[in-house]
């Protein structure tokens, strides 16, 4: 396949989730992971050097074309939509789950000092968190964890991409905003 680069690009172009190398292998029926990896690297470099309007993002274990963040303002104007942004309370709850998973509702509420039932429900409905299992405790409480969608939403390669608590502390010289 001498036009492998263009074909991979067309796949990336139409895919609405991040594409793994394995997936590309299956679709194109080729065995050469290395070749696919090289093509992806070349594409990413081209988008950079040519200052295209989009870039190749590595998210949730795969690759995805995304528009450059600096043009977000124009795209929001084009779409004229207000995406459902998460509230601060929801973000905090997500942060607890991301860092402490596998985690129980009671642990989350202990940390946040408030009831989180409604937020957990909403996060489940939006598939940003999921049920990892149940704990062997009275009432068999649900254990929560984050999903692939969570990674996609926040542009994370994997959970290791989150700053460590130490990084956060360093970042914490300025007070966190308490804007709603």
């Amino acid at each position: 396949m001498d036009n492998l680069k263009a074909i991979v690009e067309s796949l990336l172009f139409v895919s609405d989730t991040s594409l793994t190398i394995d997936k590309i292998k299956t679709v194109l029926e080729i065995e050469d992971r290395k070749a696919i990896h090289n093509v992806l690297t070349t594409l990413a470099e081209e988008y950079e050097s040519q200052k295209r309007g989009f870039f190749l993002a590595e998210v949730a274990g795969g690759y995805q074309l995304r528009t450059r963040p600096e043009y977000g303002q124009w795209i929001r104007r084009l779409k004229q939509t207000r995406p459902a942004r998460l509230s601060r309370a929801a973000l905090e709850t997500l942060a607890v789950i991301a860092y402490k998973q596998p985690v129980l509702r009671s642990d989350i509420e202990h940390l946040r000092g408030v009831d989180c039932g409604g937020i957990l429900r909403m996060l489940l409905e939006r598939r940003l968190i999921r049920v990892l299992g149940r704990k062997d405790l009275p009432g068999r409480p649900i254990i929560y964890g984050t999903t692939k969608r969570f990674l996609e939403l926040f542009d994370l390669k994997d959970l290791g991409d989150l700053p460590t608590p130490k990084d956060l502390q360093a970042l914490g010289e300025a007070w966190p905003n308490d804007s709603t």
Binding site: F13, V14, D16, A57, Q64, L65, R66, T67, R68, P69, G72, Q73, I75, R76, K79, Q80, T81, R82, P83, R85, R88, A89, L91, E92, L94, A95, V96, A98, Y99, L111, R112, G113, V114, D115, E152, L153, F154, D155, L156, L162, P163, P165, L168, Q169, L171, G172, W175, P176, N177, D178, S179, T180
Partner: protein, 245 residues
């Protein structure tokens, strides 16, 4: 008929709907007073915390149990601080304040983590993928870059200022009925429809009685909570302005 009766019941807001719980209120107070969380003047914080609860109560806002529990904890720590210390000077471990310092420190870290998430390139806000999305919901103009979103706490601080100007005494025993809040909400909505935005102060200018002021304030809170409006503060002038959500 039934509806009428319901509408005459006192206006009822749950504090937990407006604020993120007692820890959030504590963080706000610590931040406002520019305190070191590892050396909190417990008497000051307790006093301000209780003042908040008092104001909420005066506004007929239902205070959730966790807020009261925190109040009790603060008062308890305060009283333990007053006890004469025995023999040696206290090590950090014996400092009664540690009871809230540890959870507070952990809570702060969580807030930083949440903030870090916000700073990332969020899908469908900063970055977009090609997808066929339905084009409902309304157009949002992000407005001037010199505005920052304000928290409800800051709003309450601003409200306290207004009360001070109008009447220094307390205003307990004022019943606010749902009808007046509802009609005030629709008045404010009208104003916003005409002008797009209005300053916080402006909404109170025409208000005569204390009752009216509270109605206006509750209307604003309700509108902010249901995201009908957005409340922004000008960075340099400090003027708070209310926008259509």
């Amino acid at each position: 008929m039934v509806e009428q009766i319901q509408d005459q019941t006192p206006y009822y807001v749950h504090l937990g709907d407006l604020f993120d719980g007692p820890m959030d209120l504590l963080v706000h107070l610590v931040k406002k007073n520019e305190l070191d969380i590892y050396d909190i003047p417990i008497a000051l914080i307790t006093k301000q915390y209780l003042e908040y609860l008092k104001l909420m109560k005066a506004l007929n806002i239902d205070i959730a149990g966790e807020f009261l529990l925190m109040a009790a904890t603060l008062v308890h720590i305060k009283s333990r601080m007053l006890l004469p210390t025995q023999d040696e000077p206290e090590g950090e471990e014996d400092d009664p304040r540690m009871e809230i310092v540890r959870p507070l420190a952990e809570y702060l870290q969580l807030k930083y983590a949440a903030e870090d998430l916000v700073k990332r390139n969020q899908l469908d806000w900063d970055v977009f993928v090609r997808e066929h999305c339905d084009d409902d919901t309304e157009f949002v103009d992000e407005g001037s870059e010199n505005l920052v979103q304000v928290s409800l706490f800051e709003l309450i601080d601003a409200f306290q200022e207004i009360i001070k100007q109008v009447s220094p005494e307390h205003f307990l025993n004022i019943t606010v009925d749902t009808i007046s809040v509802k009609s005030r909400i629709s008045q404010i909505a009208d104003i916003l429809e005409q002008r797009g935005s209005v300053t916080f102060q402006k909404l109170f200018e025409t208000q005569a009685t204390k009752g009216d002021i509270i109605v206006t304030f509750l209307a604003i809170l309700e509108m902010a909570r249901s995201q009908v409006i957005r409340i922004m503060q000008h960075v340099s002038s400090g003027i708070i302005r209310i926008f259509h959500g």
